[in-house]
Symmetry: C2
Subunit: 380 residues, 2 copies
């Protein structure tokens, strides 16, 4: 048995990556000499898990989307990368299917039948894509998965409507399931969607506030709502479809939430120090966008001289490479980078703790740990 459950510190950069704008070397604080390095095999295992998930979930997801009325279906098929804007077939890059994979892995870990849980996996993926459609409108993002976003192609009305219909479709799938899990899953998903909305709303509101007006607690609550909630819900729905009791369902939710927060912390580090060749985004993309991400807010609220320097940069336009590089360096010197790496490792440890309450024999939860490690180890 592999020691999957040993909390691993995140490694947001590969040693071979190009030098990021910040000048400091990779921070080893959270790295223990006892931790085995992430192996290619672990990554491959996760990729295989995701591929198996897509093979199981995609046909059902596609059938659900194809049941939508024609005009809405067209926008949805484009969004999922199954069609071009003109309706011709496309094999564009769909999502990684991490959330559906979590649903199925959680169901398996608790002895459930994954065939039963596919319905929940489809519902969660639909709910996730509802948020993507609306978030792209709200954030005015024009690119997703290397293609123009749905609203950029079809206009804001069609994108908003397609998102609405996708949420209703997710709910319908669960409501139509007469098994005892259906109604409980539906209620949990609805509660989760409300939390997702609160997270997205907070994220927008942060943009209108000054660089020293957002607390780290607010930022953590926002990230938990925006990212952790749906990963938690995915795991909880898997547990529900395995017939688990409230305690195990709640623990599974906790696992997904904490893993989701670890994922967000790594994502935020990549948003600053990610390799443009791998992320497909410009150097320091989140800094250019003045995003109040977790490492940035940790730095801004550190009370250090570097915090004041960063706040000054955040009040300006910050669009030259020199300014972006200085901001990244300031986040680092203010301790934001260290903090985020340690916090990510801490969240993964909490995630594993929750998981051990849901699945006392962690050997049975190998796939869940593989997925959690995968999302927190990725470099792009």
């Amino acid at each position: 048995m592999k020691t999957h459950y040993v909390p691993q510190p995140p490694t947001p950069r590969n040693p071979g990556d190009d030098a990021p704008p910040g000048s400091a070397p990779p921070v080893p604080v959270a790295q223990s000499a006892d931790d085995p390095p992430a192996t290619a095999t672990q990554g491959q295992e996760a990729e295989m898990l995701l591929e198996r998930t897509r093979a199981l979930v995609d046909p059902r997801l596609r059938a659900a989307v194809e049941s939508l009325p024609g005009s809405i279906r067209r926008v949805a098929m484009y969004h999922f990368g199954w069609q071009e804007a003109d309706g011709s077939p496309s094999s564009g890059p769909a999502g990684k299917a991490i959330r559906p994979a979590l649903v199925l892995a959680a169901a398996r870990a608790l002895g459930g039948d994954q065939e039963q849980a596919v319905r929940a996996a489809v519902a969660v993926e639909l709910a996730h894509n509802f948020t993507l459609l609306h978030d792209d409108v709200i954030d005015e993002d024009r690119t997703r998965r290397h293609r123009p976003t749905a609203w950029a192609v079809f206009g804001i009305p069609d994108a908003v409507i397609a998102g609405d219909a996708m949420l209703a479709l997710a709910q319908r799938l669960l409501a139509e399931d007469s098994s005892p899990a259906g109604a409980r899953a539906s209620a949990r998903l609805s509660t989760c969607v409300i939390e997702l909305c609160a997270g997205q709303q907070a994220d927008c509101a942060f943009e209108d506030r000054g660089p020293d007006e957002v607390t780290l607690d607010e930022c953590l609550t926002m990230a938990t709502a925006k990212t952790g909630a749906l990963l938690g819900c995915a795991c909880a729905l898997g547990a529900l479809y395995a017939g688990a009791g409230e305690r195990a369902v709640g623990a599974m939710d906790g696992f997904g939430r904490e893993a989701g927060l670890a994922f967000q912390l790594i994502d935020d580090l990549i948003g600053i120090w990610g390799d443009p060749a791998r992320t497909g985004k410009p150097v320091g993309a989140d800094l250019v966008a003045h995003k109040k991400s977790l490492p940035v807010v940790a730095a801004l609220t550190s009370g250090t001289p570097a915090a004041a320097e960063l706040a000054t940069l955040y009040r300006g336009s910050m669009n030259t490479p020199g300014e972006v590089s200085r901001a990244a360096d300031a986040v680092d010197r203010a301790g934001g980078r260290d903090w985020a790496q340690i916090a990510a490792a801490d969240r993964m440890a909490r995630a594993v703790h929750h998981l051990s309450r849901a699945v006392p024999d962690l050997a049975r939860a190998g796939d869940l740990l593989t997925l959690a490690e995968f999302v927190t180890r990725r470099t792009h």
Copy 2:
């Protein structure tokens, strides 16, 4: 017993109204000498029904809305007219509560306990308000219930997010109900929301098409989806909460749908010939907006000389009182006004036929008929 169930022709204008832009007198085609005139008493009865509904539903609706996260709650409370934009209390005009009233009346007609059905009434009203929030964004409408719309006050992101959360809240209310009706109601509401989305999408798409490119069938399908579906769903949910079988539930849905279409036809007539003093909108508001409403499309597709005249006006800017008056007159001469009045009466007859399948003793369905008459007789 009153002869509630005799199909009544709509009377979109009161005799005492100011003269509308069209020159023709009220069309008496569908009026039979046997029909009793609408009495003030009937209107008062409907108002009392609506008031009783609000007294039952509002506290639960408000409690549900108050359970939303703070930032979203603020937008929702403003939208419902319970708060001003700054959060201070307001007793602004809320909606009429026609949909909740239909839920409760349908439950009563089938011998159900209306206390049980209040949950469904709240869910339907939340779903209705989700559509209002999003439709106002999509249609760029700046005024609703005589106040600035939510997006005009809080911005598009907050209004979209509040709508999303309201839909999820509606779903949660039904999913959390462990009674057998809960899951069935939840599935029906989700299916209805998808249809509402299709209706709104079609409505938007019509705007981009030429005046002779929309068929009457397409227009009827759109109106059924956009207006009929939710009124049908309201009645169906009432039936479900009364423990009715699929057949009665389906018949109740048919009643609401047909009554909804009658309502839309009357609404469209008011959009052309409504009295500005009563509607709060300018003379011929729908014509100024180039709206392809049902009487307009009936006129445009009539093959008459007046149709060609109307099409020419629709291709222009149509913003002078003279042009608006000529367009209203063309709709009338092309038969659009007569058609809409007859169609509304026909839809009401179909509605009553459906109702008699759900409630063979129509005497028990008096409240439903009162409500249907109320919405198709209103003049503003």
